[in-house]
Symmetry: none
Subunit: 528 residues, 2 copies
Amino acid sequence: MSRLIKIYDTTLRDGTQGEGVSFSMEDKVRLATRLDAFGIHYIEGGWPGSNPKDLRFFRRMQDVTLKHARLAAFSMTRRAGGPAATDPNMLALIESGAPVATIVGKAWDFHVTHALETTLAENLAMIADSIAWLRPRMEEVLFDAEHFFDGFRANPQYALETLKAAAAAGAHWLVLCDTNGGTLPHDVAAVVREVRRHVATPLGIHVHNDAECAVASSLAAVLEGVEQVQGTLNGFGERCGNANLVSIVPSLVLKLGLDCVPAANLGELRDLSRFVAELANRKPWASQPYVGDSAFAHKGGMHVSAVLKHPETYEHVRPEAVGNHRRVLVSELAGKSNILWKAREYGIDLDQSTPETRRILDRLKTLEDEGFLFEGAEASFELLMERALGRHRPFFALDAYRVIVEEQGADGEPVAEATVRVRVKGMLEHTAASGNGPVNALDHALRKGLEEFYPSLKELRLLDYKVRILDESKGTAAKTRVLITSGDGRETWGTVGVADNIIEASWQALVDSVEYKLRADERRGVAG
Amino acid sequence: MSRLIKIYDTTLRDGTQGEGVSFSMEDKVRLATRLDAFGIHYIEGGWPGSNPKDLRFFRRMQDVTLKHARLAAFSMTRRAGGPAATDPNMLALIESGAPVATIVGKAWDFHVTHALETTLAENLAMIADSIAWLRPRMEEVLFDAEHFFDGFRANPQYALETLKAAAAAGAHWLVLCDTNGGTLPHDVAAVVREVRRHVATPLGIHVHNDAECAVASSLAAVLEGVEQVQGTLNGFGERCGNANLVSIVPSLVLKLGLDCVPAANLGELRDLSRFVAELANRKPWASQPYVGDSAFAHKGGMHVSAVLKHPETYEHVRPEAVGNHRRVLVSELAGKSNILWKAREYGIDLDQSTPETRRILDRLKTLEDEGFLFEGAEASFELLMERALGRHRPFFALDAYRVIVEEQGADGEPVAEATVRVRVKGMLEHTAASGNGPVNALDHALRKGLEEFYPSLKELRLLDYKVRILDESKGTAAKTRVLITSGDGRETWGTVGVADNIIEASWQALVDSVEYKLRADERRGVAG
């Protein structure tokens, strides 16, 4: 049995410190569920004491059962001079209902005196009091020693004292943080080695990527005996980001042979990385190690024939091991087996050799060239398969739409109005509606035309609406991809639209969402 | 005097193996000149034997005087079975006129027998013959030991034999390559240590980033005594890229205190990184260590006041040391000190106690509650300050706009048309235009109305257009934030708009961009 390394994900807290990264509450719940399924050990959900939005997330999570992971709530220590028992941060941790508390405290004397502006002794008391008060009230308590490496360089004795104070107060873990991200891996290793001579509590490592060494520093710490690695998916985080778990986890499992996330789950790694990029509305990093589009891309010629005969000649791991695939950069082959697998998932029976498979693959290839992406848009993918197979029975047909937005005067409120003409069950319905914006107006007008025929559409809710500009350098003339998540209280589904025109892209995704809802009702036997 | 580490840049060869990276010959000349001025020791220009374009580059470089760097030409060893003296690759090296030749040869027995398909002995002869033939004909000869680390793992004795063959034939340098990029830094260090026990020739290191450890592996090799580091600017390169010199060089100089590129030149690092991104037509990597826009970006009030008093509390190096600068992100957590800092940056003089500061803070708070975010929208922030101070003189005033999108039939193409009425210099301009989508149409109509009065607007380009839905759970009724990046060839700036209606949000960002351009022209004294 090899050594177990626990993974502590802080995408939902530290990751959102990254410029432009933010998640809605529903995004956070979806991501926590995915992290749990992947086999992450700890999920840090936020800082309930600093932020009412984070507290609402923890309340919401009380209704969600995690199979594997433990949810952690983050906080500073109690404030200087006041008792832990009445400190709002401490109380918020209890209120969060999370089983794990992570308490961050200063480990660098200079920070204590010059940023916190208190005494070294009071800082030790703040650490000890907070942990001692939480210890009987939480299942597990972690101490994050902020700026530990800078602190150790400046005053090793004091830095160690902060760890000892936390350990004596009952902390289950001591996490050494390289908060400024500038410590190089050999220094991280040397400090961890020294720390282990002084404390027996299990250690964790939490580093930032300011010297482009965060992954290596995390691995170096593990090699020195650290048992927990903290980081974020795709390395999201403040400044240059946190240690990237998407690179660390496969290296721990596949290269160092350590027990961590189950090796079988690594096949989900690429999907997980894509999923969080999509939620954060970040374009995937093409050359991202292990999971990027280019990570196993080979250019033509001799090189390619070598790699096809003996993949190990030019590939450091099997791409399939991390859910990625080999690409040959001349003509790309869409993964037939992927399609078959997806089709099966949707209850569509395809035989590998049929012309139908070919037709779906061709259609898919065309759409992908146009910028379609079906990650997170499973409902559109299902409709695509049905359409390619000629099995699709449309519930309505568009005749025309028009949307007008106008504003009068500099301080006037803009007005949006849409008209829609659709054919439903042999009737021509012509409706008009206004809305908050052009897409909202179209949504209203379309429903007006359809609800009379399909009353179950009243249950349809658009839960999420995301816009991504493809090829952003074309400015306002660029292609637009719209991703809509919908729900009806029974299930939720995603649809996608792509067009030069954002209204048209939104319309496509909207229509797919309505089609999917009606199709799902039909399968469930709801009267239409 | 500290140890000298030489930098070998292969952006022009290995860097161009990156997906989508290519340089024109003139780009290559410009880049070589910049690398030389920066203090790089070796510039690998290409593989003259494989590629007539590369050979033309070397010919062109014969007219360029490098002050500091030496130009290197790359090649495989002579072919199996033939003599070096008539091998086209060898002859092309001589023809290149470059003073340095870099010869790559196989160091992994498996590659010799299974990819090269020759004998282990012949491979040694190919290495030795090529180097021995070149040695009297070039000023310097390097041996790149391909797949050295994988080879050493498989057959350490044979891998060492390839190095000894090169050394005996007179190679000035032996470069250990982690061609597949999967070796972790502690293994790189251990192998380098072992190699140094067997060979006395100076060593170089050349690694790829497939495990996100290329920078750390390069530094680990230096700490074990390697004297040359090979890599590319921004880490451009095949698959996950090469070791990133933009991170390695400052760590060698500022953190390890080694002699390398002159410390004073590091102030050019950010510009150099931007320059190559620009040439490669790649969007800069915002969170890039040392040089990215986010690398020294700080959020949050308390945090900001600490970093202003004592930068070392949250910065691992001085941003100016690498030509970067501190940024204060004006966001939800904005405190007074953020605003004052920003104002100073824009040359707006605010005294902390004036009612103007209060007015700006109040205005900012209101806008942020509405969902505005000024990260990346400095131009809108500057206009906001001017407006709050009553100093803003608008260049035009909106009277009305209207935009129509319509589509006829299910397969019809949607059509977008906009009309705009603006007052400019006492005139009422009423224009109409079409576009790819509603925002593009508005953009065209607005410019039509203004360009006659402000001809410099012809220079204005919208470089980037980003849409973010705020509170996505409200579906199509959610608030929209639009971020536009614009440029005019002299500078680039960001503007933001927020509204329920995506058209209105885009319109706000568009108007701010135009206002900013006209204001900047005025400051520069361009006739308007």
